[in-house]
């Protein structure tokens, strides 16, 4: 009995310390005045990182706050809200999701108390509906306790391709732009007009290997468009936010996908298979990216089946 008690107390201490430590360690950094983000870790989502692997954050206006991507779990969403409350007491009026992936939308429910308007690309509702059962089944297991409370909240305000939407946070205008199929078929960027800061969502990965879940040709085209933009700050979907690094990051990501596309096109022209492409393509990029082994072959597979139809 004594043994059981000490075992249980030990277990309890371990559990409590892990939860307390997690919330203590969770932080946000200022990008520029009124713009904050939490930088996700370059890991696979897990119970121990509670899905906090993407960049999430908020922009503060004079009237209210817009959250841009809400976290990889309900737990992360609640930590982000805690950090937000340390900085401002203004209400959260918008929760903007840049796309459907779990690390960007699973925290949505944590902001419900302020009754915000949820905003996304016009194709985001369909993307959520198509993935909800698969994501909920898989991520309940992956995230464990952190998943509890997670809800799939579709946007009530949507942005159409070719028709950017302007939101006002009180003397602070945001311009939301919807893209044709790139990283996904429903990518959305947020531009803070005041500081000329662009939140790219996963149109830009820095350090972490980019994952293609849309169209390789479409994404390459979008990257070229982004390159031409004059911006003061960029918050990528993953990796460092800042004023200078992003140009190089974009260049590196463009080089990765262009190289992939060139090599896969050659293999397809030579009637090669996906398996063959997976073994040969892009291996010289290995040292350039975090989590290369986890996602590179996936990028080849997904690109291959698209490039077959050129």
């Amino acid at each position: 009995m004594t043994n059981l008690f000490s075992l249980l107390s030990g277990l309890l201490a371990l559990l409590l310390s892990s939860f307390i430590a997690a919330s203590d360690e969770y932080d946000v950094q200022q990008v520029t005045t009124g713009i904050y983000y939490h930088q996700g870790s370059h890991e696979e989502p897990s119970a121990s990182n509670f899905g906090a692997i993407a960049n999430v954050g908020f922009i503060i206006g004079e009237r209210c706050v817009a959250v841009i991507d809400s976290g990889g779990s309900y737990l992360e969403g609640s930590y982000l809200l805690q950090e937000l409350r340390k900085i401002t007491s203004l209400p959260v009026c918008y929760v903007i999701n840049t796309h459907v992936h779990p690390d960007h939308i699973f925290g949505n429910a944590a902001f419900k108390a302020d009754n915000p308007v949820y905003v996304g690309h016009e194709k985001l509702p369909a993307a959520i509906a198509s993935r909800e059962s698969f994501f909920s089944k898989t991520f309940k297991e992956t995230l464990g306790q952190a998943y509890t409370g997670t809800e799939f909240i579709a946007p009530s305000l949507t942005v159409s391709i070719g028709s950017p939407v302007s939101l006002d946070l009180g003397n602070r205008a945001l311009t939301l732009t919807a893209y044709s199929t790139s990283h996904t078929d429903h990518d959305l960027t947020v531009l803070d007009e005041k500081s000329q800061t662009l939140w790219t969502g996963d149109l830009l990965f820095m350090s972490r290997i980019p994952v293609m879940d849309g169209s390789i040709n479409g994404w390459i085209k979008t990257m070229q468009e982004l390159q031409a933009m004059q911006l003061n700050f960029v918050v990528p979907g993953h990796g460092n936010a800042g004023s200078t690094e992003w140009q190089q990051g974009l260049q590196k990501q463009l080089r990765y996908f262009s190289g992939l596309r060139d090599e896969i096109r050659l293999i397809i022209a030579d009637l090669g298979s996906i398996e063959q492409a997976s073994k040969q393509v892009g291996l010289d990029e290995k040292g350039n990216w975090e989590l290369f082994d986890d996602y590179h072959r996936r990028n080849i597979t997904a690109s291959f089946v698209q490039l077959e139809w050129e």
Partner: protein, 265 residues
């Protein structure tokens, strides 16, 4: 003092049990005994038939929507002894019975591959049925893909826009020499989980049911397929043309739409 502590202990215990039961939700209970009876009744299946067949699949599904699977036979097809069918079963998919390849003895060696959706950790099985009725199985375990991968398609609009477009891809063959060919048809292969933006309803399952491949009007391969097959179904196979002629692929989907494509050799 003691009461709150006890309460915390109970909470911590329930957390522990929760995480244990969450892990148990990963399909660990073997489905195969039930599936075997459902698909093959009481027929005997020889397991680990590695002397006859090789199945290849990635150890980890890189992309849940596209998992290449190939099956080759180690024994040539002869008029006396040949594989009539290869059945593909993916234990933990929503519809485990995934494809039935009916194969002609004229194919020579069996060398077929296709692309499947794999939802979660699962065994992928190929069961060869011989002309004497015997069944022989090989299998591979495939780990689920991680991260954001989902079996739903990436660009539904693009897939639908190309619906029915077909390709037969192959090198210029020589008469009497084995040649590898690939038949692909563009089709969204909706499995009933995709959502339509405009109607706000789930799209009914709409998928390729049959791919029939003939050479000079003699059937080489007929594949009955289901919702496990990836968007834009692809079949690769090897055959030996014994004379000049026409390779024809005919595709029928679940709405009885038909598409066909030919290649002169």
């Amino acid at each position: 003092m003691f009461k709150p502590l006890l309460k915390l202990l109970l909470i911590s215990l329930s957390f522990t049990f929760f995480s244990l039961s969450a892990q148990a939700a990963t399909p660990s209970e073997p489905l195969w005994p039930t599936l075997k009876v459902a698909y093959f009744g009481d027929r005997e299946i020889r397991e680990d038939a590695n002397d006859l067949l090789v199945i290849e699949a990635p150890k980890r599904a890189e992309d849940a929507a596209i998992v290449p699977i190939s099956v080759t036979s180690l024994v040539p097809q002869t008029a006396d002894k040949y594989i009539t069918n290869i059945h593909i079963v993916i234990d933990n998919n929503p519809e485990p019975y995934s494809a039935n390849f009916s194969l002609s003895p004229k194919l020579g060696l069996i060398d077929i591959s296709t692309r499947m959706r794999v939802d979660q950790y699962t065994f992928v099985r190929a069961i060869a049925e011989m002309n004497d009725g015997s069944l022989h199985m090989v299998s591979r375990f495939v780990k689920a893909s991680g991260g954001c991968s989902a079996p739903a398609g990436k660009d539904a609009a693009a897939a639908l826009a190309r619906l029915g477009k077909m390709q037969i891809r192959m090198r210029k063959p020589s008469v009497g020499e084995p040649v590898q060919a690939q038949v692909i048809v563009s089709h969204p292969n909706y499995n009933g989980l995709q959502f339509d933006q405009k109607s706000r309803l789930y799209i009914d399952a709409h998928y390729v049911k049959k791919i029939n491949i003939r050479y000079n009007n003699q059937e080489l391969i007929n594949v009955d397929t289901g919702i496990s097959v990836s968007e834009d179904p692809s079949i690769r196979f090897t055959f030996t043309p014994m004379e000049a002629g026409t390779l024809t692929a005919e595709v029928t989907d679940s709405k009885n739409q038909q598409f066909s494509h030919q290649k002169e050799i």
